[in-house]
Symmetry: C2
Subunit: 324 residues, 2 copies
């Protein structure tokens, strides 16, 4: 079985890379920028270059779908890169091609807040895709950088799906109907994205789960099976949002960056500001087998399970990472 997890933001270490191998994870899309500007994002690419040098037996740089085959054939994990905010391109559309050349393959148009490109899901008003946003979507389409709307507001997401000439993605979220978290996506949003050939990566971040950390494997897998009925099983993949071994200071960086002097708790609260505990059946990269088993029990066929566990993202990577 091919396993592709289309979103993680771990505190990377040899331990985590070894767990990826133990779990048979063939590819992971990792976030390398939240609020980092271009130069800071380049420092993060540099850090990954060091890790590729240090752990050549565990990980390889992922640029194209074929790198997943190369990783699988050599018992390694292909690492693909993405940004959860457009901060790395600053106000310079020319940086879209530059970051793609460096290896970026997904970029969120917003992270919770209004950006230069679109409206984030925590803003009171959603004004849709901006003037620069339209230009940047066109440029992202041209070079093969995938539009990710995981943290965007509804109207902005629907407009992005319409404006984009290539499929877009919600890399890490769940259906709002299952668990009405602010970050989970309403039916019309998921419909707009998947009708246009886009993908939903289902999230295992407890705030996105029904009953949060106590969510059952059965409930999670039945949510996926229902989403397959609504949006087509080929539109679904994993986007665990696993933030393994991160200190709570990191969730504060994710939420607040440098845009506010006051704390913003995002999906947390003053009484529970940190990372919530993961469900017992998905603690780290060694637990993907539980999900595959759980999916099979819902009555999905083995080929449908294989699609959700990795092959759907593989196909999406193959079609969307190169120039138009």
């Amino acid at each position: 079985m091919m396993i592709v997890d289309n979103l993680q933001y771990a505190n990377w270490s040899e331990k985590v890379f070894r767990q990826m191998r133990e779990g048979g994870v063939d590819a992971v899309h990792v976030t390398i920028s939240y609020h980092e500007n271009f130069r800071e994002t380049v420092l993060n690419f540099e850090q990954w270059n060091r890790w590729f040098e240090q752990y050549p037996d565990l990980i390889i740089k992922g640029l194209w779908a074929g790198d997943i085959d190369r990783a699988k054939d050599s018992n390694r994990t292909a690492i693909f890169f993405g940004f959860q905010n457009p901060s790395p391109i600053e106000d310079d559309i020319g940086l879209v091609e530059i970051v793609h050349t460096l290896g970026a393959r997904f970029m969120q148009l917003t992270y919770n807040n209004q950006s230069l490109l679109a409206t984030g899901c925590y803003e009171a008003e959603d004004t849709g895709i901006t003037r620069m946003g339209r230009q940047v979507i066109k440029e992202m389409n041209r070079v093969g950088l995938v539009v990710d709307m995981s943290h965007s507001a509804d109207r902005s997401t629907i407009e992005a799906a319409e404006l984009s000439e290539r499929p877009i993605a919600i890399t890490h979220a769940n259906p709002h109907a299952w668990h009405p978290a602010l970050r989970n996506k309403r039916h019309e949003v998921l419909k707009a994205v998947t009708d246009a050939g886009g993908m939903l990566g289902v999230s295992l971040y407890p705030h996105h789960l029904k009953d949060k950390s106590d969510c059952t494997l059965q409930s999670f897998c039945e949510m996926i099976a229902r989403a397959a009925d609504s949006y087509g099983v080929h539109s679904l993949g994993l986007g665990s949002d696993l933030c393994q071994d991160q200190p709570d200071s990191v969730v504060e960086w994710m939420r607040v960056g440098r845009w506010s002097k006051e704390i913003d708790y995002g999906e947390g609260s003053a009484s529970a500001p940190g990372f919530p505990p993961m469900p017992t059946w998905f603690k780290d990269n060694r637990d993907f087998g539980n999900i595959a088993e759980g999916l099979a029990k819902t009555g999905l066929s083995q080929s449908e399970v294989n699609g959700i566990m990795g092959e759907n993202w593989y196909r999406f990577y193959k079609e969307n990472f190169g120039p138009m």
Copy 2:
């Protein structure tokens, strides 16, 4: 015949790109940084990305020797990138791999002055390769970024040839014995570079030519034939240093950058501060045929002429642009 010119810094335009096609130029190594820092150099990569988009019938981005074949087969010119100073990597060795990923293939360790890495040819004292310079040469070797010592001092150049595990280059200069310009290279320097498998790109910049702008084609070609006797014909290629259509303000930027408030005339003088006129037989990219004819008249064989005109650089690119 394959034509590769291993150094130009024109004021790029559709006109110049069309002249490259008229002249049958298959590849050009262009300078995209003198004193630009990393972010400014990225802006120059962005500008070239725009030109590749605007003139897809004339030019393509060159990353590997095979791109020269691709250019030749489709009647276009492959553009390779290099820096005449290590300014783009600032004080960050991690940027060596980053700029290579973006397309840089040559980097001078110095431009006339002392740098963080080595001593330039205009300094009074030459202390050789610095501590950081040794680390950067190793990293350049690892990723496939060629050490270029065209504007470096003698001891630094000889040390670089010894320290580097891969061949280095003097991309644009001539033998000092032919014309004793400060920028032309003494026998022991050329010997150190070429004995280690490195290349000399012969320059057509008038300050590097005997009798400057009045240099004859015959004298230039005989200089090359003599260099072939001394250093091996396979060690020689072209590095015209053509700075076509540049205003004199640009030669001032090349010489002074931001390192001095006073004018430094470099190879020029107060009475002749600008770009000198090119020899009548080499005005622009349409004139490479004159050189090929002139070389044939010196008694070099056709295969030797083909090597100097392009095939030697092709071989060098093939062996030195990829990871070790």
